[in-house]
Symmetry: C2
Subunit: 336 residues, 2 copies
């Protein structure tokens, strides 16, 4: 099927660009409550599934043994801006396991946020692996391996203990078989597996509700989601969509983006989760789509609905500050 146009970018009186995509919301039993486009298609979740990838950190007992606080658990699920607080907290996590930046295998990059990048350039010659947007996740991997008595060296490899644990957890949550046939390498060097969008949403609905999960996994899942909702700055950072969305309804919305236009979210109190992908991989469209989808579930709370719908439309201004157009969702989302 051809995916529908879900986001339009306007300029003056006309539509300039169009983004297609697929969106699904499901409950803990996997029942579809909202759907647009080809939701059976396999997509790479990329960083949107970091909360799933953090399960071994809690389930191995490492989080308790090292005394990780909620900020650290949120950082383990994050794609952060590389702001000083993010880099420092990743270093703190590594120190609890007796490690430091040299154990990280994620590589280094300047912040994707221009204001943060400018601050970084003024403060340092070059970034290190602590500034990588995935450093919290990787620090969590290292904590889990060290606590389990496994050498963390090579932890990014397909056959390492931590990647096998993640693969098992994600297979169970998403219902998809994961292996070399649907495996790619992520930006931070670990394996990433393409799964049907519907399975990805169902996995997050299980995490948010505990439906069908063993008690320890249900507790670990909810603990990670609660940590993200409690510390949204540590899931992304200043002005980032994940952070803003979670701040709109504190403790009630979980939201996590992934590269190439992916977004996942959950509303635990309603027992539903959402997964979506912009077909062409564009972040601006995925951000509008997740906000509009979330808004559908807050129609009884006009202030929250309005705040989410405001996130679903972004005014674009030129270098002189003049309004030139908007990024906005299409009628496919209905009232929302």
């Amino acid at each position: 099927m051809t995916n529908p146009v879900l986001v339009e970018v306007t300029r003056g009186p006309l539509v300039e660009s169009r983004h297609r995509g697929m969106v699904i919301a499901v409950d803990g039993d996997g029942r579809t409550v909202f759907s647009l486009g080809d939701v059976d298609a396999a997509i790479f979740p990329r960083s949107a599934c970091k909360a799933m990838q953090a399960l071994p950190l809690v389930e191995t007992g490492a989080a308790d043994a090292y005394g990780l606080d909620q900020r650290m658990l949120a950082l383990a699920c994050s794609s952060h801006n590389g702001e000083p607080e993010h880099a420092a907290l990743a270093a703190d996590m590594l120190a609890l396991a007796g490690r430091d930046v040299s154990t990280l295998e994620c590589g280094a990059h300047w912040s994707f946020s221009q204001p943060v990048l400018i601050d970084q350039v003024r403060a340092m010659d070059k970034p290190n692996a602590l500034h990588n947007n995935c450093s919290g996740k990787h620090s969590g991997f290292i904590c889990a391996a060290c606590h389990a008595g496994v050498d963390p060296q090579g932890y990014i490899g397909y056959d390492h203990f931590i990647q096998r644990e993640i693969r098992d957890a994600m297979e169970s949550l998403t219902g998809a078989a994961l292996g070399h046939d649907n495996c790619g390498i992520d930006g931070c060097a670990i394996p990433t597996y393409a799964v049907p969008l519907k399975g990805l949403a169902h996995g997050f609905a299980k995490m948010a509700t505990g439906t069908g999960l063993a008690p320890e996994r249900a507790r670990a899942a909810r603990r990670l989601i609660d940590a993200c909702m409690a510390e949204p700055f540590y899931v992304a950072g200043t002005k980032r969509a994940c952070t803003r969305l979670m701040q709109i309804a504190p403790g009630r919305i979980f939201a996590k983006t992934g590269a190439e236009g992916v977004f996942c979210a959950a509303i635990p109190e309603q027992g539903i989760a959402i997964a979506l992908k912009c077909e062409d991989g564009t972040t601006r469209a995925a951000e509008a789509m997740i906000a509009a989808t979330l808004a559908r579930f807050f129609r009884d709370e006009p202030e929250i609905e309005a705040a989410l719908l405001a996130e679903a439309t972004t005014s674009m201004h030129n270098w002189n500050g003049m309004h030139v157009g908007d990024v906005r969702v299409t009628e496919a989302f209905g009232r929302a």
Copy 2:
């Protein structure tokens, strides 16, 4: 019609993201020689039509009166990186008209190129309007207005002399009526008009061949295209697609990108021009599409064809330098 998928982004063994778009190549008489997707759709050319917008600079006699050299004419057609050479040359152009940076009305922004941005942050507190990627075009506007005896203040306005001159030239070249109904505001604050993709290509084919143009316009058009081909660094900058494409066949390929996934090109010796747009506005896809389309016209010159096809596929590496996937054109382009 639904535009076809023209570019795929792979990760490991799978396609991760897909870009749709439309492409047309025409000759000086407007005959279609290659076409994909809905080429009658109106699109905003954005910066891809800067060579058309520079016609008044030459046709008013300003370029000769102020002694603008080929680098300056190229810069007048450019979306440059804001490298020191670009900013300095824009200042030189303004000085020839007795003006300086304070006359520019394009606003200021940090370079879109990360390496250049980093150099800028280390060299200055903040960028000024000379660093705006459109400063060469705006300096050309100011030269044209000053030479014509018109106050340049307000030159970005719809009713200013220079914008009327541009509107007249673009209507004549593209065959499209331009007015408020299809007018938006560009990133640099001047009017931009949506025109059918086919008309945009025909306009560039007329510029490259002179077909149907008055002798003065034909000379001015060819002079601008020749200047861009002679000084490709001043059309874009270090590592930029426009610059690289023109360097592959020096003096034989003209290429100019525009925001939101637009690319225009011409091969004057073959009498053809190309216009394309990625439906979703993504630059990586537009760059692959223009390289693959240009390659079709160099099948008799294997070295040039191979160099262009190499530009049509971009290997993606993660922060550790591992190959993770490719941006590549689809079978829609045939052998190319």
